[in-house]
């Protein structure tokens, strides 16, 4: 589903050159749940940004569902994003001026989905993440865990092929964190591919594969037993 070959990302300022990604080769199959781990500054978030087409690679190729991403215009990337990707951030990134319902339906607005269909899907996904009773509240009126569940709802509402989660539990306490991970597990079980950046090895255990990074390179890849992940999910 995803293929990255010799992918590099170099940041240049007037006198410093920083290599954030250094020859990444990574293949992700449909239905995988990948956890990306590594110390601060190792390039995890950059990798996620490139995967999410929020940033472009300096060199190498990136193919999503058989289509080459590198070198495409911002307009085309916007279309890819809205049709195929969902994002979850550590800091939730909800729009304060909009209600929960309005935040979640935002991707559908850009996909020009009809109002009735939009409303149906919003309520469906809000119920799925168990926040429907808060549909008309503003983000500031919710707890961190609730806000992240709204963010998850927003990420999945357009049925993306790939969900990218950048430390989705980083700002949450452990019980809220587990709730969010359980949601991601459910999504993955339903067939959604997930790439999640995390610091926490316990959270990485939810993944089917863990990619360890250091200094912009992939250090190792551990394939975990699906069974094991299911058990963890069951316990939580």
């Amino acid at each position: 589903m995803i293929e990255m070959t010799d992918l590099c990302k170099v940041y240049r300022t007037s006198d410093v050159e920083t290599t954030a990604l250094d020859g990444i080769n990574l293949q992700i199959e449909k239905g995988e749940f990948i956890a990306v781990m590594g110390p601060s500054g190792c390039g995890k978030s950059t990798l996620l940004n490139v995967l999410g087409m929020l940033d472009s690679p300096s060199a190498g190729t990136y193919t999503l569902q058989g289509e080459r991403i590198s070198g495409r215009s911002e307009q085309e990337l916007a279309v890819f994003r809205k049709e195929r990707l969902g994002f979850i951030f550590q800091s939730f990134n909800l729009i304060d001026e909009l209600s929960v319902r309005e935040n979640v339906q935002l991707p559908l607005l850009y996909q020009k989905v009809k109002p009735a269909e939009r409303e149906r899907r919003v309520m469906e996904v809000l119920e799925r993440v168990n926040i429907a009773h808060r549909a008309d509240h503003r983000p500031q009126q919710l707890s961190g865990g609730q806000q992240q569940r709204v963010a998850v709802a927003r990420a999945v509402i357009s049925n993306p092929a790939l969900i990218l989660a950048d430390e989705p539990t980083g700002n949450l306490d452990s019980s809220n964190g587990e709730e969010v991970l359980a949601l991601l597990n459910d999504l993955n079980r339903d067939g959604t591919t997930i790439v999640m950046v995390t610091h926490d090895p316990a959270h990485a255990d939810h993944a089917t594969r863990v990619v360890n990074m250091l200094d912009g390179r992939i250090l190792s890849e551990n394939v975990m037993a699906r069974q094991q992940m299911d058990e963890v999910s069951h316990v939580s």
Partner: protein
């Protein structure tokens, strides 16, 4: 999607009341200025466009080269002769505006300003609509008169005026034969009563209508559609040669003005009334645009300054699939929405302000937002202003990369330079407007206080009736008026100071050959021997007239050459090549006939300085002062003693009533007449002041918002500095220094621009206030702007500086 944008926009407006108020109020003021000025400009541009075939109707004008006269009126024979000679002239009409005339109705005599004497086709020529009587035959006989509805109502109330009679100057018993609809206000002409030109020979003399020297007739011609007027005007010199001889084109020329151009582009001597000016239209349009632009700049500045607050939203929208175009549309939509609120407020402001503005300009300006065309203009205007104000913020905000803004890396710093540039622009224009206002006022002050070369104070002036012998009434008027202790002296003259002196004739220094080439054209002023003393004019050389030099004889068939005396002004002496002292005793010869065979030999008995006779708009002309023949000297000047003038004026009026029982008196203070000559500029200065105040207010609003934003952003820095020992004063200085620098740069930019613009404006005046009188304004305007800026920022800076550092740091 639109609803989503609308929601966000409304909530953003609601969530940031300070920024919203600044933006909406600023834009509303800018838009209101623009609407008001547009209403004014549309009105100015509408002048004379309503007449039938206005685009191919022209006014014929006449210039005299010798004494630099540019007349709006021409001599009465010219119109008919042009029509005879040039078959392309489809129609022609002449209107003579004689000035105030006495009209008697029953036992009551009034001075009528709006009376004209015209060709009988004048109503058809301008397609004036009649409400009573027949248009075609209305002026069929010399004693017919046609009234406007307003004049008819004034004289006859609700009675039918047709067939009623009015007496004109005690000379003509005129019968009212028609009533026409009042002329609209937006025409360069002004008349309410029309008498027939056929009556002219009866009371102006048999040769008046063939007199090439009586340049008193507005003459209009109509040319065929698509005809190039140049084709006609290029043959005017040949026309003059044919009718006035081969020398004529060297002394005079005819020209043409399109009817629709007269109001805004013609500023000739002897216009109907003071016309508008294209430069005023341009200036006020520019000033209104500047105020609007300053308001747009506020919007740009405040929106980009707050960009960090919106950046995250942009990032999220992009992450969920919005493209840049959609983000741009969203922000443009917001600014259009904000502008729409501002427009509603602006329309309310205009409704409020237009009536006093209209009264101030003395023009019937109207604004009806419900009118479909106006409404469409307002809607389009809202869209355009919204797009203009929102364009840069939309482009700027939409360029954020989600990867940066979601990490909190984006900031408004990229646009800081632009914001500073825009603040400089706002202050530079505000300072330039302040300077402009100051210079206009300085010129007004200069004009009012300049030594005119004579003493105009405590003078009351009035016109004497047309058909009375000056010599018969002058002595009784003068002697009886002067018996009152409140009246110092009484003199007559052909024109009084403050009037344009358009009278003139040619003179040749004695000894030079009497040929056209040697004739020098000079302005003539007929005065009484006491005139110089009355007006406190000092002699550079020589003296005033002696009793034996009064009432000179006119040349006649029996005596073709007569003797008389004159006083020159300095310029006139110089034109003959004499110093004041040399001039005294010289003789100049005045030819009174085209054949140069009737002459008056005039001995120069004195020389006076050049007087600022009319206004500072006009050059001081070379002028010959002489004693009048009977027909001249139609104005009286009465000098009052210091103190309460009421008793003296009552005495003056009673003497007049005794000497001239059938002519109502109409007097004015000379000071008021002079002030009236500067009324247009005075009004311009006031309007400039008002618009400058708006510009500065809107710029200050923006600065207030920007200062509040900057202070908010620097809260943490202020806290740290205070922890390190900075005093409140240190913090205030820190926060004001940046803005002070911007205002200083703005001043440096504004100065040369304002200097250039105002130097150009001052060229309108033949005598402009010297730079030394207004140079200080440049510094004053800059300091004024600086103080306004300081006061604006000081509030914010002081508030931040007085906050306890711990809360500032905790806030961050």
């Amino acid at each position: 999607m639109f609803l989503n944008y609308l929601k966000i926009a409304l909530r953003t407006i609601g969530a940031n009341p300070l920024f919203s108020v600044i933006n909406i109020l600023g834009l509303a003021i800018g838009l209101a200025c623009c609407i008001i000025i547009t209403v004014f400009v549309n009105y100015e541009l509408s002048y004379d466009k309503h007449w039938d075939n206005a685009d191919r109707t022209y006014r014929v004008t006449r210039d005299f080269f010798g004494n630099d006269l540019k007349l709006a009126r021409i001599a009465p024979p010219i119109g008919p002769l042009l029509q005879d000679d040039f078959s392309e002239i489809e129609d022609m009409t002449r209107i003579f505006q004689p000035g105030p005339l006495n009209i008697t109705h029953g036992s009551e005599t009034t001075v009528e300003e709006g009376i004209v004497i015209a060709d009988r086709n004048v109503f058809e020529f301008f397609n004036l609509e009649f409400v009573a009587g027949s248009r075609d035959s209305a002026l069929a006989t010399p004693n017919n008169m046609v009234l406007s509805e307003r004049a008819a109502h004034r004289y006859f109330g609700s009675e039918d005026p047709i067939g009623k009679s009015l007496n004109l100057m005690g000379q003509v018993e005129a019968t009212v034969t028609g009533v026409f609809k009042d002329l609209p206000e937006n025409t360069h002409m002004a008349f309410e009563m029309v008498a027939s030109i056929q009556a002219v020979p009866g009371f102006m003399g048999a040769d008046e209508l063939t007199n090439w020297g009586s340049n008193n007739y507005f003459t209009y011609i109509r040319l065929p559609a698509g005809y190039d007027p140049q084709r006609l005007s290029s043959r005017f010199d040949d026309f003059l040669v044919k009718h006035r001889g081969v020398d004529a084109p060297s002394g005079t020329a005819l020209g043409m003005q399109r009817l629709t151009d007269i109001h805004l582009t013609s500023n000739r001597d002897s216009e109907w009334r003071t016309n508008g000016s294209l430069s005023t239209v341009y200036t006020f349009s520019a000033v209104a645009m500047v105020v609007l632009l300053i308001a747009c700049v506020n919007f740009m500045n405040l929106t980009t300054a707050r960009s960090t607050q919106r950046a995250r939203e942009v990032g999220i929208r992009k992450v969920v699939g919005a493209n840049r175009g959609q983000i741009i549309r969203q922000f443009l939509g917001e600014s259009v929405l904000l502008t729409a609120f501002a427009m509603l407020l602006a329309v309310a402001l205009v409704e409020l302000v237009l009536p006093p503005f209209s009264a101030f300009l003395e023009k019937p300006l109207s604004f009806s937002p419900a009118d479909p065309q106006t409404l469409l203009t307002l809607v389009v205007g809202t869209g355009l202003v919204g797009l203009l104000a929102g364009s840069y913020p939309a482009l700027y905000l939409s360029h954020f990369r989600p990867v940066d803004v979601l990490k909190g890396a984006a900031s408004g710093s990229g646009s800081a330079m632009l914001r500073k540039t825009l603040v400089v622009f706002q202050f530079a224009t505000s300072i330039a407007l302040l300077i402009a206002t100051g210079v206009v006022m300085a010129q007004m002050h200069y004009a009012k206080n300049l030594d005119l070369g004579f003493d105009r104070s405590r003078n009351v002036v009035m016109s004497l009736p047309y058909f009375v012998d000056l010599y018969e009434i002058y002595d009784p008027l003068r002697t009886e008026m002067e018996t009152h202790p409140g009246i110092e002296s009484v003199v007559y003259s052909s024109r009084v100071p403050s009037m344009q002196n358009l009278d003139g004739s040619g003179y040749v220094a004695q000894g030079k050959q009497m040929v056209m080439d040697n004739i020098l054209a000079m302005a003539d002023l007929k005065v009484d021997a006491h005139w110089f003393e009355h007006y406190g004019v000092t002699f550079l050389a020589g003296r005033t007239f002696r009793p034996n030099e009064l009432r000179p004889e006119e040349p006649s068939d029996d005596k073709p050459v007569t003797q008389a005396w004159v006083i020159l002004n300095e310029s006139a002496a110089r034109r003959f090549g004499w110093s004041p002292q040399e001039a005294v005793g010289k003789v100049i010869v005045q030819p009174l006939s085209r054949e140069l065979d009737r002459l008056v030999n005039r001995e120069v008995i004195g020389v006076i300085p050049d007087l600022y006779f009319s206004s500072l708009h006009d050059e001081r002309k070379a002028t010959i002062y002489s004693e009048p023949h009977t027909r001249y000297g139609r104005r009286l000047s009465v000098k009052l003693a210091p103190g309460n003038p009421q008793a003296a004026i009552a005495h003056m009026e009673s003497v007049w009533k005794r000497v001239l029982p059938s002519d109502p008196i109409s007097w004015e203070f000379l000071d008021d007449r002079f002030d009236a000559r500067y009324r247009a500029e005075g009004k311009q200065a006031k309007l400039f002041g008002v618009f400058s105040a708006f510009a500065i207010f809107v710029a200050t609003l923006g600065l207030f918002g920007l200062a509040s934003f900057t202070t908010e952003r620097r809260t943490k820095e202020i806290g740290i500095r205070k922890v390190m020992g900075a005093s409140v004063a240190d913090i205030v200085i820190l926060l004001t220094t940046d803005f002070t620098r911007l205002v200083v740069i703005a001043s440096v930019i504004a100065w040369p621009l304002a200097f250039y613009a105002m130097s150009q404006w001052l060229t309108r005046f033949a005598y402009a206030a010297p730079a030394s009188e207004w140079a200080w304004l440049f510094i004053a305007a800059a300091f004024g702007a600086l103080i306004i800026a300081w006061l604006t920022i000081a509030y914010q800076a002081g508030r931040a500086a007085l906050t306890r550092p711990v809360s500032a740091l905790r806030y961050e």
